[in-house]
Amino acid sequence: MSRIPPDVDRLMWALADDPEPNALDEFERRYPAYVGELGKRIDMVRRMRGTPLKPDRHGPVPPFRPVPTATDWTRPAWAAAFGVLLLALAAASYFATRWYLRREAANPVPIVEQPPLDPPSVPDIVFAPPRRFEAPRPAEPRSETEQLAPLSIRLEGVPLSVALRAVAEQAGLRLVLAPGFDRIDATVDLDLREVRPMEAFEMLGRQHGFTAFYQGNREVLVIPAAPSRPAAAESRTREERPAELPGESPPLPDDVRRTEPPGGQ
């Protein structure tokens, strides 16, 4: 059934409650679609009103019998009695607690002497020496001279300058001979196998009195040692003069500068 409009719905309930004939005729004329629904409601209300709710008796009304109700306890007398009971409980609790405390005070608990306790043994503490914290060092990049490929060369009875140029050429280096190098007149026999180029220069320098410096950009500078101090130059080891080792390209040492020939400049 479609939804009944609210005004028609209320009108039908009013007619069901009071089915006046003229009103029913008017409703039937105006709302013929709802006549069936109105009839059902009239019948329902009639049956509802016809259902008896009166008491099942044929005689007089039964006598009035007052009964205790659930709300009787809320009457003032009961409330007062309940309050008195609460007060009595509170007073009893108070006096019982006070009596108990007094009895405890009259019979104090004896204090028992306790033997002294041994001091707790403390284990020896060994302090470890402070450890110096060292931050991890970053890996040093390989120097440029270490990146030069090893070489093998064999020469017999060649001049020193020729031998140096041969080593430089095979290593792909550009050789620069400092002024005064031509004073070194030596013949060289070389038999090198898998030796790095700067090690070859160093070895020849120790034998013939010169120092080879790697200048960078694949350039090697060869400077002859001073004539008055050849032994000093030779005695210097790699560990003592790390800054002057080949491949580190330090500034020229003072003693080397002083060995420049007078007519070199």
Partner: protein
């Protein structure tokens, strides 16, 4: 009002008059809400006990019947919520001999009415009882249920719709 004044002045017999006068009305309200004759009879005794004890609180601003019905409705609804209406297979006119009483003006009870009423909340049963059985006006119903006339009208409309739905379901 005169009967009430007599009771308040200490004449116990005056209350008996009030009790006999309104017993059937109060019983109808209690039975309409509780849907059980025995429980309704017990509720009537409780209701009149309350009235007997608290009649002095009646402020006389309304009719005594309105005040009495309000007590009856509230007490019946409270009782119905307490017992949650134990569904008993006893018709409303249980063994009343109403058919044998020869009352030709009332039709025999329809079991669908009882079934539909049992599916309604107690407040709905109360307002339907006041309107259809006790035939109170909306103003009296509002006063008896402690609400305005418009509120009583709305409550009655909703209760009636719920009853119709339950009745049609019982008829199906």
């Amino acid at each position: 009002m005169l009967v009430i004044e007599r009771f308040l002045h200490g004449e116990s017999a005056a209350f008996e008059q009030l009790y006999r006068k309104y017993y059937d009305k109060v019983f109808a309200i209690a039975k309409g809400v509780l849907l059980d004759s025995d429980e309704a009879a017990d509720a009537v005794q409780e209701i009149f006990t309350l009235v007997y004890r608290h009649l002095r609180r009646f402020d006389r601003r309304s009719r005594f019947s309105t005040w009495l019905f309000r007590v009856a409705v509230n007490r019946s609804i409270q009782q119905a919520r307490k017992v949650k209406y134990k569904a008993r297979q006893v018709p409303l006119d249980e063994a009343s001999g109403r058919e044998s009483a020869g009352d030709d003006h009332e039709e025999p009870a329809d079991p669908r009415i009882q079934e539909a009423l049992s599916k309604l909340p107690p407040a709905d049963r109360a307002i339907l009882t006041l309107f259809y059985w006790d035939e109170l006006s909306l103003q009296e119903i509002g006063a008896s249920m402690g609400c305005s006339v418009n509120a009583a009208k709305t409550r009655l409309y909703r209760a009636r719709e719920r009853f119709r739905a339950a009745y049609e379901e019982a008829s199906a």
